[in-house]
Structures are given as C-alpha cells and as structure tokens.
C-alpha cells in the first residue's frame, strides 16, 4: 500500500533524506543558539568531517592497509596532500596569531614512540583509527560500535597515567614554525610522497578523484577548525573526557591523577560536553557518518558480520589500547599525524613512522584474531 510519501510502511527516500538534512541543520542551529555560535560551528565542522570521510569512503587505517598489502599508495598520497594544504595555511597563521591559535605540538619521547606503535597495531586490528572508529560506529559497523566505549575508557586511563609515562624520558618539543616551517614540512612531505610512489606497484600509481576531493574537503575543514576553535582537529582528548565525565558521575575520585586533577582538567570535566571542541567534532563525525549511511542506498541494510568470539575479545582489547596508546603518543592519526605534522610538530613525523611500523604488524594480526570473519 502506498500513500503520500509513504511506501510499504517506510518513508519515501526523498522525505527520509530531506528529514535527515533538516535534523542536522536544526541540531547545529540549536547548539548555536543554546550554547554559542562557535560551538554550533564546531558541530557543523564535525558533521562535515563525517560526511566527507564516510561519503567519500576516505580514512586513515584503510589506505595504510592498502599500501602495506597491495602497495597501493593512493590514500597515503591523499593524506600527504591534505596535510600539505593545511600546513601552508596553518603555520603562517599560528606564527602571526600566537596565543589565539596553537598547533598540535608535543615532545618526542619513549612512551610517545611506543604509544604510536601500539596504536598502529590496534588500528589495523579493528580497521579504524580515531576518526575511523567514530565513522564506523556512526555508520553501524558493529566492530566500531563495540570498540568506541573501550577507546574512550582507554583514553581516560592513558591520560591518568600520562605524566608517569612522559617521565620515562622525552626530548624538548621540536617545532617547525612560520614560512621556514612550511618549507621544511613541504620538503619532507614531498620526500615521503616520492618514496611512497617509488614503492607503489606500477598498476596502482594513480589517485582516484574522490580521494583528491576528500583531501581538499578535509583540509578545508581542518583549517576552519583551527580558525574557529584556535586549536587543530583532534579526536582522542574528547573521548577521554567522555569517560572522565562518566567516571565522575558514578562517584570516581579523579584527584589521584596528576592529569585529571590539574585545574584545567577539573574545569573541563565539570563543564558541558557541548563546549569541548573535540567532543563537538567527534559527535559531528558520528552524526555525519550516520547521515551518509542512512542516505546511501543499502547503507544500513547490510547484514552484520559473523565474527568468532576471539574477534570480539580482540575488538575490546584493541579499542582500549587505541585510547590508552594515543594518549601516550599525544594523539591519533588525526591529532598527531594529521594535525601534528601540519602544525609543524616533529612528534607528528615520529608518530607516522612508529604507527606505520605498528600497522605492518597489525595487518598480519587481523586474520589471526578472526577479524576477517569465520574461515
């Protein structure tokens, strides 16, 4: 039976899609009015990230896996392109407006390197990095959905122990600044791109147009993130904050942690989630991915994968490790690799090398842990 806008008891796709867009716009407007315009814009930026990542099927873990398994460099080259564009915009602005705008700058240290390596392993096990896990959960991927709460708990725990880990030894922060920083970073990006191109299989030496579009969109959104929030795009801090808030609600005492008992942390745990920039973009990423999955024909009608028990156990452990290790590493693919390199921090480059090495191991662990399904 068919009536106006309703077919077989379901809304006509045009109405459903129109409703989804309207809901997204209303949500952004509600946050802008009830919390503040800056916060509404940050939610809109997050939605943009989610739409771009899921809509263009772009991410970080998948392209690294493609390079490792099939010597397909397209995704990594798109990452380097996006990072290069952000670098040209961000570094001169940070130099000119110091204080108002800050980079994703962090020191290189033992725990940082080990954390990035473990993150690389774990992200290949669940096939989702920081933004990837949010996108996967929002689009109904059950592995992403199960990993996400443990990611948040891991981020909270990693931040709890962060000072102990950094005390193991770290260099002073090394940052490339201003136009000199732009030149150094672009030369290094060019060097890596050349290396990746040389290592690529000849039949894969091209970049699909959707990856170029995705790189341009992600770069534009990352620059908007910096100009509006005053800080680069990040993911992991927000997830740890969600867990810290949850722990506080159930009566946990955070005063035993040097990180969570610091005055600025206490204030952020007490404040609304809707005034935390990384929380807003994280929420937006999930909603944007949900919107695309709902919009796309058959996006939500896929059957869930039949995974063995050991795969779910691996998902829980890897989810926790993603969160814990990324706090030690001062970020994930987004906060350390993408934002770290594009705002001139040496730790972003070290993170890239260590996490890629971890990914080589993670790609091999994935089938062993049953993540490819029942054999």
């Amino acid at each position: 039976m068919t009536s106006e806008g309703v077919s077989d008891g379901r809304l006509h796709p045009h109405f459903r899609r129109g409703g989804l867009v309207l809901a997204g716009v209303l949500l952004v407007l509600a946050v802008a009015v009830l919390v503040g315009i800056r916060y509404g814009l940050m939610l809109a930026i997050g939605l943009g990230f989610g739409l771009a990542l899921e809509g263009l099927r772009f991410g970080f873990a998948g392209p690294w896996r493609a390079m490792i398994l099939w010597r397909d460099p397209a995704g990594i080259l798109a990452h380097l392109l996006a990072i290069g564009i952000v670098t040209v915009g961000a570094l001169p602005l940070i130099a000119a407006r110091g204080g108002e705008l800050v980079g994703a700058q962090a020191p290189v240290g033992w725990a940082m390197v080990a954390g990035a390596f473990v993150f690389g392993v774990a992200m290949q096990v669940v096939l989702g990095c920081g933004s990837g896990t949010l996108v996967n959960a929002g689009s109904g991927n059950p592995v992403g959905l199960v990993a996400l709460p443990f990611f948040a708990m891991g981020s909270f725990a990693g931040a709890w122990h962060l000072i102990w880990w950094t005390d193991l030894g770290a260099l002073p922060g090394i940052n490339f600044a201003g136009w000199t920083g732009v030149a150094i970073t672009l030369i290094m990006l060019g060097g890596v791109a050349t290396l990746v191109w040389q290592l690529a299989a000849p039949e894969h030496r091209s970049i699909p147009r959707r990856y170029v579009v995705a790189a341009l969109a992600i770069a534009a959104l990352a620059l908007a993130n910096l100009l509006i929030a005053g800080q680069p795009w990040g993911v992991v801090y927000g997830l740890g904050l969600w867990a810290a808030k949850g722990a506080t609600v159930i009566g946990a005492d955070l005063s035993g942690s040097a990180f969570w008992s610091a005055p600025e942390s206490v204030e952020r745990v007490r404040a609304s989630l809707l005034v935390d920039y990384t929380s807003l973009t994280n929420i937006g990423i999930m909603l944007g991915a949900f919107l695309v999955a709902s919009w796309r024909k058959g996006g939500l009608s896929q059957e869930l994968p039949d995974l063995p028990s050991r795969a779910w156990i691996a998902t829980i452990i890897a989810g926790f490790l993603l969160g814990y290790s990324s706090r030690l590493a001062f970020g994930c693919n987004v906060g350390a690799f993408f934002s770290g390199i594009s705002t001139g921090s040496l730790h972003g480059w070290v993170w890239f090398a260590a996490a890629f090495a971890g990914s080589v191991l993670g790609v091999r662990l994935r089938p062993v842990l049953g993540m490819e399904g029942r054999s």
Binding site: L34, V35, G36, I37, R38, Y39, L41, E100, L101, V102, A104, Q105, A106, G138, S139, G140, N141, L145, L148, I163, L226, L227, I228, A229, G230, Q231, G234, Y237, G238, L241, W242, V249, A258, F259, A262, P263, E264, S265, S272, L273, L274, V275, D276, T278, M286, L287, F290, L300, S301, Q302, E303, L304, S326, R327, F330, G331, G335, A336, G340, S345
Partner: protein, 54 residues
C-alpha cells in the same frame, strides 16, 4: 540483524551521553566566546590530545 540496529544503537548512545551531560551541567550561551578564535584576542584554552597539564 542489519546495520540499521547498530547504527540506531550508536545514535542512542550518543544521544544518551549528551542528554545525561545536560542534566549534570547546563551550558550558558551568554558566556560563549567570540565566533572565531582568530582575531578574538583570547588565548586558546581548549583541551587537546597533545597538551600536558600546566
């Protein structure tokens, strides 16, 4: 079971998180910062993955 169920669960978890947080802390739009950090004259103070406590 399809992804419709898991996507709905993700959305429900997210909504629950935000609503529960609103019960604990209400944001005040009158204390909102300027729209853009750049040009605001204010020092950036948001939480970030790379930041250590002062």
């Amino acid at each position: 079971m399809t992804r419709r169920a898991t996507a709905a669960a993700a959305l429900a978890l997210l909504t629950g998180l935000v609503v529960a947080d609103l019960f604990v802390t209400r944001p005040n739009p009158y204390q909102a910062p300027p729209i853009f950090a750049i040009g605001s004259g204010a020092v950036s103070s948001g939480g970030f993955c790379g930041a250590l406590p002062d």
